[in-house]
């Protein structure tokens, strides 16, 4: 009631003319100037939709529920299996890809190259010409990994006979999956599909996967959250830097591997492969993040983002309270640092499911833990801390499991809130690799990018219509 205001000291939040705040202070009052700009770059309908959602009790309650589900998730690496047997609703002539849905003819170069490689790997065609005809012929179904409880970096291609990691969220008894990381250079996820690539995939299927599977069986599973938390204390942000996490994983596996029936040469080859790939853990980090966010998916009214993913053409997000729907915008070109001989002109637009890590509060959101990463944009360690602090303004809470030493062991900001993104104009930060726009060239750089605002403005409008009824 207004008369209680009369008993308090007046504290003014000033939106608009800065001189009003100045004169309040001059007259002995207290005022804070808001650095206001028209929300959603001046889209009035979005501004109004947002105004209906800000601090709305039903949305706040839904977000608490969604965030608790996310936080209580316990992803455990449980098994390794074959995609066609493990993934829900995986068809026999289906190929999964990174990002939101996209038709063959619209796919970017690296994704097309990866799909051709997968067709060759499956033996559905003899050469790339045959594979191209098959892919264009409509005989093969293309669907996002995300539609099958899975995630894959870059092209994110998973075909029926590929081995997959199976992670189980034991708190909610829900599985999630990812493919295997092939290392750097000529690899399928960047669209390479030559004989070396296919041979490596076969080796992963026939040797690496069964060997590691036996080790995991002996261990009974590996609890992924503590491992990721430890890696965050060792300079990883478990998206673009996984050297610590990969080492920790290997440390857990080695003794178990030695206890299996696997042959010494196989164990040696497996250990050598994992040890030689600093990004080996990335796919597990992604599957763990997918598990945590799937736990939070589908809470009616919640404005929490449960997926951010890119297919090299479009950037898409999903929101807990909006079900399976994707909100998409053109994928940005990442402005980062490039390997010798490459420039931004060679880059494919942002690609892959790996932004699931940022969605789960690690990656760019935990950058304070990984100051080395900030060098991608020529920054200093303080910039890493600033980035993490900025993300705290657009998130629902902090993940207690993921503490950040440079932030005085505060939890990493997590649970992106579409309302806060649109209200502040602060866009989620993503650490990412950069693929060449042509198939098979591979990674040409890495950098830091931002999720496009348009995904969030559409989601805000849609959520307001659902929660409040259309106005």
């Amino acid at each position: 009631m207004m008369q209680t205001l009369f008993q308090e000291k007046l504290h003014v939040l000033n939106v608009g003319l800065a001189s009003f705040a100045e004169s309040i202070v001059k007259a002995g009052g207290t005022a804070l100037q808001i650095e206001w700009a028209p929300p959603a770059q001046g889209q009035q309908n979005v501004a109004r939709a947002l105004a209906q959602l800000v601090n709305r009790p039903s949305v706040e309650a839904a977000n608490r529920t969604a965030f608790d589900l996310y936080q209580s998730s316990q992803p455990i690496l449980r098994d390794i299996g074959i995609a066609s047997e493990m993934l829900p609703n995986m068809g026999n002539r289906m190929i999964l890809h990174g990002g939101p849905p996209i038709a063959w003819q619209n796919m970017c170069g690296p994704m097309k190259g990866a799909i051709l490689g997968a067709i060759l790997y499956e033996g559905w065609a003899k050469d790339t010409a045959g594979a191209t005809a098959l892919a264009a012929g409509g005989d093969i179904v293309f669907e996002p990994c995300h539609h099958h409880a899975a995630v894959g970096p870059m092209a994110g291609v998973i075909s029926p006979s590929m081995p997959v990691w199976m992670v189980v969220d034991t708190a909610h008894n829900r599985p999630s999956f990812s493919n295997f990381n092939e290392g750097l250079g000529q690899v399928l996820r960047f669209g390479a599909n030559g004989p070396d690539v296919i041979d490596r995939l076969r080796w992963i299927e026939q040797t690496l996967a069964p060997t590691l599977r036996a080790g995991i069986e002996i261990l009974g599973g590996i609890d992924l959250k503590p491992l990721m938390a430890q890696a965050l204390h060792m300079g990883d942000e478990v998206h673009n830097r996984n050297v610590a996490a990969s080492s920790l994983l290997l440390k857990r596996l080695i003794t178990a591997l030695l206890k299996t029936q696997a042959s010494s040469p196989d164990i040696a080859a497996a250990v050598d492969f994992v040890a030689g790939n600093d990004h080996f853990f990335l796919n597990l980090s992604m599957a763990a993040c997918k598990a945590m966010l799937d736990a939070a998916q589908g809470v009616p009214g919640s404005s929490m983002v449960t997926a951010m993913a890119r297919n090299g053409v479009e950037f898409g997000i999903r929101v807990s309270g909006m079900g399976e729907r994707w909100f998409t915008a053109p994928a940005p070109i990442v402005d980062g640092l490039f390997f010798p001989g490459f420039t931004m002109a060679d880059a494919a637009p942002d690609l892959g499911d790996s932004a699931i890590t940022e969605t789960a509060g690690v990656g760019g959101f935990a950058m304070a833990a990984a100051p080395a990463i900030v060098k991608f944009v020529g920054g200093a360690p303080q910039d890493a801390i600033d980035n993490t602090m900025a993300m705290a303004h657009i998130t629902i809470g902090c993940n207690e499991a993921f503490t950040l030493p440079p932030m005085n062991f505060a939890g990493s900001p997590a649970g992106i809130d579409i309302r806060k993104v649109v209200d502040t104009g602060i866009l989620p930060i993503i650490n990412t690799g950069i693929a060449h726009r042509e198939a098979g060239v591979g990674q040409i750089g890495a950098g830091i990018t931002r999720a496009p605002l348009a995904c969030f403005t559409q989601a805000v409008s849609a959520l307001a219509a659902r929660v409040c009824g259309t106005r």
Binding site: Q3, F6, N14, G16, A31, W36, Q44, L50, A51
Partner: protein, 516 residues
């Protein structure tokens, strides 16, 4: 195109920092392409493919290799620069500085100022309703300065606020004083026991300044926005303000101010005023006092009367409606026969409206851009006709330029134009002080007044310029300094708009008497 390489032995850098260095070296003068890598066989092959290295390089995986391609004469200097960059100490390498982000939304602001209890919103009108809704949802009272807010939004905002025990002051609320803090265009007044609720910004300023001038003070001054007493809005904010002041122990007298309200809404407000449990002075401009008067509710004809009544009640005296409504001292002035008309040039809309009302009673038909009677509308606001009062704060005059309380140019031009008119006897001006107004309005006006009276004198006329300063001794501009300057420039000063208008009427009446 030339190439150059440099090997630095046993100088390990991780690949990320090397990528950063590579891009830095590529920016050096005369350099086309650059790479800094650990010189493993693989990496050297990469550089060969990129055309940066030709032939063999004697280096190993623990050695750092710098390879540059560019114009021959620039490469030596570039290599040297690159090497010195590599070897600079950590303390001189780029230092980051922590940037806490300034709050970009009300919610973010509230995280920084958890005690926040009022949002003052002055964004462009098309975004203002959305910001106000956010503020209310965050539990903040709202002062909505913005204009161009749709009526349906105003109604929705006020109903939403009322349901949550919050108030929306506005839209188009230009002024308020809450807990002694002047907000937006407001005067610095002494705190006291008189509470004001006003649907008119300058009306509010006039009343609180006169109360201050006459030795009493203000507990709270609440603006409601000028549409609050429309039928569709129903006086929601005025009723809330009235209720809050009625319950406020620091308030002994309440003043309500509005331009003519909807009659049903007015009755509703007056009924509530009668139950306030403390005296309520009501100035609904142009209303019939008989319809207002009831136990504990006192009608006031003018803003000045309202202030006077409130001061009397606060001092335990009865309000004195019997006091003669005349001017307090004679105006020493002689008109030439042709000088017949009054021209009021106002920056405050309510002053202009009040002038119309008072002059209509005393001198007859008054033309205006904001007339009391629709028939008296001035078709061309830029040109006066007979008795004319102009609200220069009207949209038509403020389009593309600041409000006349801030920017005096338009009014200054108009003063000279009126002074040149041989039929003009009196010019009436308001001078509004306080935060948000011009830092020295008297200083702006004085030379123009000299010029105007000089112009008339040259033409053989005497021109009366009557004005009043709406301000207080504590205002940043200072009441007495401003009055001294104006008096020095020949202005005849009144204390209030009502007094100024009555003086003007007397001048014209005297003139009429002479010529008839």
């Amino acid at each position: 195109m030339a190439r150059a390489t440099k090997v630095i032995r046993n100088f390990y850098h991780d690949s990320v920092s090397l990528m950063q260095l590579s891009s830095m070296f590529a920016q050096l003068p005369g350099v086309e392409q650059a790479a800094a890598i650990m010189a493993s066989a693989n990496n050297i092959n990469l550089l060969k493919e990129a055309g940066l290295v030709a032939g063999t390089v004697e280096a190993g995986a623990n050695d750092l290799l710098i390879a540059l391609q560019g114009s021959a004469e620039a490469l030596d200097a570039a290599l040297a620069a690159a090497e010195s960059t590599l070897k600079q100490s950590a303390s001189t390498a780029g230092q980051g500085t922590s940037r806490t982000i300034a709050p970009r939304s009300l919610e973010m602001g509230l995280a920084n100022m958890v005690e926040g209890n009022l949002a003052v919103i002055s964004t462009p009108g098309e975004y203002a309703a959305a910001e106000a809704f956010k503020a209310l949802r965050l539990g903040l009272h709202v002062m909505l300065f913005s204009d161009n807010v749709q009526l349906q939004d105003e109604i929705a905002l006020k109903q939403f606020a009322r349901d949550r025990d919050l108030i929306v002051m506005g839209p188009e609320c230009g002024t308020a004083v809450i807990n002694g803090v002047p907000l937006a265009f407001a005067n610095v007044v002494t705190r006291g026991t008189i509470g004001v609720v006003a649907a008119s910004g300058t009306g509010l300023q006039q009343v609180i300044c006169l109360i201050d001038r006459w030795g009493q003070g203000i507990s709270q001054a609440i603006g409601t926005g000028s549409h609050d007493l429309h039928r569709a809005v129903g006086g929601i904010s005025m009723l809330q303000g009235l209720k809050a002041l009625a319950a406020d122990r620091s308030t002994s007298v309440i003043v309500l101010i509005s331009k003519p309200p909807d009659s049903e809404v007015a009755e509703h407000v007056l009924e509530a005023a009668g139950k306030a449990g403390k005296p309520v002075v009501v100035n609904f401009l142009g209303a019939d006092p008989a319809r207002i008067r009831r136990p504990n509710v006192f009608p006031a004809d003018t803003l000045e009367d309202a202030a006077k009544a409130a001061v009397a009640l606060a001092e335990g005296r009865p309000p004195d409606p019997a006091q003669p409504a005349g001017f307090l001292h004679a105006v020493p002035f002689t008109c030439t026969p042709g000088q017949r008309y009054i021209r009021g040039l106002y920056s405050g809309g309510t002053f202009c409206y009040e002038a119309s009302l008072l002059l209509k009673k005393n001198v007859g038909r008054i033309y205006s851009n904001t007339p009391v009677e629709p028939a008296d509308r001035l078709h061309d606001g830029w040109t006066s006709r007979e008795h004319t009062v102009i609200d220069l704060g009207d949209d038509r005059f403020t389009r593309g330029r600041p409000h006349p309380m801030i920017d005096h140019r338009l009014r200054n031009e108009r003063i000279l134009k009126e002074a040149a008119d041989p039929q003009v006897a009196v010019i009436v001006l308001d001078i509004v002080l306080g935060y948000g107004s011009h830092p020295d309005p008297a200083g702006e006006l004085a030379p123009v007044l000299h010029q105007a009276t000089g112009l008339a004198r040259k033409a053989g006329r005497q021109l009366a310029v009557i004005g009043f300063v709406c301000g207080t001794a504590s205002d940043p501009q200072g009441l007495s300094t401003q009055e001294d300057t104006l008096r020095g420039a020949g202005m005849i000063l009144a204390e209030s708009n009502a007094q100024a208008v009555r003086m003007a009427a007397a001048v014209v009446a005297g003139q009429t008497g002479m010529s008839s």
